[in-house]
């Protein structure tokens, strides 16, 4: 479904590529965790999937069509089909829980509808369903700054869910949460993944979490793909290799 062909990304003003010659593909139903040290290229890798980061060389293909050959409209559609969550949640401050979740529908609505907040009752229902699905128990009208880290990430997941995604991306979604909350968020991600039969690709620091939840693990080291296999194959030797112990 998603295929990387010889993908490299070189940031302007640098000489060493952030990711280098990556070849990998993902199929429906896979829950993939991406491991690697800070600076190994995980964030760049994940952003190449929905085109937030343009590639310097090679191509990222969705159902055999390269992102760089798509029209602007098709690119927006790829993003709309891709729910993405972030380490720092990236919610819109000073807006409420439900307002934040409704922004997930921006890709589906006309500009004036987004601008004026014209959402119909079925949109609102979708938002309420998402709130229930992520088991968010706070007032939907509450401002997001007032929430805890775990609650914020649940709002972000709900925002991604209303996009009705086919693909779920996570850029260190639990790195700023405590271990207990991190595990509960992962549990929620996996549950949603199974229910909706998605492709999920998630960057994570925590190898234990990755081994517990992933159906497949890939690992990056200095921008290169150095491991691709089932969690059981990711042993201590591999761990040492990636984290330089």
């Amino acid at each position: 479904m998603i295929k990387f062909e010889n993908v490299s990304v070189l940031y302007p003003g640098t000489t060493k590529p952030a990711i280098q010659n990556v070849n990998v593909s993902f199929q429906k139903g896979e829950f993939v965790c991406v491991l690697g040290k800070s600076g190994a290229g995980k964030s760049t890798f994940i952003r190449c999937i929905n085109g937030l980061q343009p590639v310097t060389e090679g191509s990222v293909k969705w159902d055999d069509k390269s992102l760089s050959e798509m029209t602007h409209k098709e690119n927006l559609e790829v993003r709309r089909k891709t729910g993405m969550i972030f380490q720092h949640f990236n919610l819109i401050p000073r807006m409420s829980v439900v307002q934040n979740i409704l922004t997930g529908l921006f890709g589906y609505k006309k500009s004036y509808e987004n601008l004026l907040g014209l959402f119909n009752s079925s949109d609102r229902m979708t938002a309420i369903e998402a709130i229930n699905q992520v088991e968010l128990t706070v007032e939907p009208t509450r401002r997001v700054e007032k929430l805890s880290g775990g609650q914020k990430q649940r709002v972000a997941i709900a925002r991604a869910l209303v996009q009705n995604p086919k693909v779920f991306l996570g850029d260190e979604p639990v790195a700023s949460l405590d271990p207990g909350t991190a595990e509960r968020i992962f549990y929620l991600l996996k549950e949603t993944h199974n229910k909706r039969n998605l492709v999920s690709i998630i960057n994570v620091h925590d190898v234990v979490l990755a081994k517990k939840f992933a159906t497949r693990i890939i690992a990056l080291k200095e921008g290169k793909l150095v491991f691709d296999g089932i969690p059981e194959e990711f042993d201590e030797k591999m761990f040492a290799e990636i984290y330089n112990y």
């Binding site: 929905n50 927006l76 990236n90 922004t103 921006f106 601008l115």
Partner: protein, 252 residues
Amino acid sequence: MVWFKRRQFIVFLGLLVVVLLSMRLTEFDLSKFKDFQNMSDFLSKWFPMNTESLPFLFQESLLTIAIAFLGSLFGLIIALPLSFYAARNTSNNRIIYTITRFFLSFLRSVPEFVFGLILLTTLGLGPFPAVIAIVLHNIGVLGKLISELIEAADKGPIEAMSAVGAKKWIGNLFGVLPQIWPNVLSQFFYRFEVAIRTSLILGLIGGGGIGQQLFIHFKTFQYQLVSVDVLLIMIMVILVDYMGGKIREKVI
């Protein structure tokens, strides 16, 4: 003297020279204050205040507030969209960015007084050219200040909006504006306060309002009215500052 390097002494000496030169140019001389008596004689003529024309002057103050309010509000409304083009992170095109920046600094470089003088020729005397002059200058000032707020905004929400597939301008708007809104408001209220003082100056060239009254009273030696004008001006500025603070508190 371990805190100082030699280079800092040189900078200090250079600064000293510039200060002395500037004092020379401005005839800066504190000993001139020995004629302090003159000032207190003059100020004593301001009292007692002549409160007879207070209702009229109050009305003129309202006109001043109206000039300043429209001048800064319309300035804000026009500056806000422009500032997105003038910010590096939200402008989609280097050329548009440069042109907008240049346009804003051009507007900033022309004082309201000069805009007023030019506008007089087509709009005639009165408060309307004063409003337009303040609008034009404020577009330049607010556009620059807001574009800097946009550049300093957290890019996370903007990225999240791209990730949901929102159009770029919608993503920029929602990703940035809620973040910077309290600061936009405080800039606005500060400019409102400045606009009150500016509209006083524009009174000199027939812009109307309390500024024009102040000018007339001064020229006709009606000092007991001058004191009323000054008092009203002080009240206005403090009031706007206070209101701005209150509104900003509510918004945060």
